[in-house]
Symmetry: C2
Subunit: 223 residues, 2 copies
DNA sequence: ATATATTTTTAGGCATGTCTAAATTTTTAG
DNA sequence: CTAAAAATTTAGACATGCCTAAAAATATAT
């Protein structure tokens, strides 16, 4: 058993940011990218990278960005697990809307108690996805995989089910609320406009034109 | 409506400590008493009292201790409300034992979201007491009152119901667990030993001798 | 290939919250 | 009523996490 040095709230936020930025491709994550995500200055990021490197949570090569170590990734995944479990709790049990949960989950994800996390998971029935369709890692850090694609990559004249959102900003979610386009909604892709990349889709007996930007943020899977 | 400056986690802990220390008697709370409670040095307490006084959360007269202002008391009560609601949640929904909840509630009590608190309260059915029998203030800060007394003040040959614990340390709670002396248990006070202040009580068809220290930490109310 | 632009790091500073040691005030005892 | 003890505050320091400005390294463009 390791004696795992205490990881601060701030450090957890950096680990999570690096994880999210680095998950596509095995390349390293740049200081500026982290700064943008965290809304901090690049110099603050450099400072923190030194601390995380000291704790063996990242590998940092000067001027070359960082990569999470095994330990760093494992910890990032634990924070993400808690974030998503709490989001499920807020929506399923406390009647929050999916556009209201993120801010509160950002706080709750830092609560430290193994037992709390496991019991919450059980209480919620071991959910596989959070209210935005994102997979919830199990206690060993394993994610369920799915064959979801973006609406922007969909084939015309094909039926899909809406399974997630890429951008889960309140603005985007409220747009979807307006048309009752919830997760699980079945939709048919009617056409794609080459000119502006917009799509025409049908769901719940309504026909809707969605812009390229909308299409690039809605995950679907073939029926 | 006030623009209520942000109150830090540390400040909340001090407000709560002052509230608990000050609730009996309207006298002011001493620096040393706070230091003991918070497990900090007296000099750290003085520093913090200056900050809280600056924010009008306490009144501080040099060398004379502090008292909570209306604002300070209101905020302390909000933190206590959250602490106790979360303790109920952990016990009722997540199968924690009453001796395991305090540490986690110490973290959860600082989560900032009015909606979260109100919805949690509703989800739990607006409980009036936490797992240790302590009253949960409502959203306006009002406590239910009860006529509880300590076992050490009980009359001999009288029947009572166990309604709370004064000390909710894990050690004391585990002692009670051992004898299945839970809240709601009916008990009869059989005798009191003048020599050492111990009591003989009967409950659940067992007879138990409890020391002065135990008796001074168990709240009961007459049947 | 070199000058320019961009990225990243370093240097120095600030706020928070803690500490130890010393000074000051209040309390207690003789 | 004073002298010692206890409580409290002040002074100076340190770690964390952030900032701005300047320096250094890397990337880009002609
Ligand atoms: Mn979220
Ligand atoms: Mn989410
Ligand atoms: Mn508690
Ligand atoms: Mn309690």
């Amino acid at each position: 058993m390791y004696i795992c040095a205490v990881i601060t709230l701030s450090e957890e936020n950096y680990l999570k940011a690096i994880y999210h930025l680095g998950k596509r491709g095995s390349q390293s994550v740049s200081t500026n990218a982290i700064a943008r995500k965290i809304k901090a200055k690049a110099s603050s990021v450099t400072d923190m990278m030194k601390k995380l490197a000291e704790k063996d949570l990242v590998n940092h090569k000067k001027y070359q960005g960082v990569k999470l170590t095994e330990d760093g990734q494992a910890h990032a995944i634990k924070v993400i697990r808690k974030h998503r479990l709490w989001e499920v709790f807020l929506v399923e049990k406390l009647k929050f809307s999916w556009d209201e949960v993120h801010e509160v989950a950002e706080q709750l994800e830092h609560i430290k108690s193994e037992k709390l996390t496991q019991q919450l998971d059980a209480f919620l029935g071991f959910p596989e996805r959070d209210p935005h369709g994102d997979p919830i890692p199990d206690k060993d850090g394993n994610f369920a995989v799915t064959n979801k694609i973006l609406l922007s990559e969909a084939e015309v004249d094909t039926k899909y089910t809406c399974v997630g959102v890429k951008d889960s900003s309140a603005d985007f979610l409220k747009y979807l609320n307006k048309y009752n386009l919830t997760l699980g909604t079945e939709l048919e892709v009617l056409s794609r406009e080459d000119f502006d990349g917009s799509f025409s889709i049908r769901f719940n007996n309504i026909r809707l034109n969605v812009s390229k930007d909308i299409a690039a943020n809605l995950f679907i899977k073939p029926n």
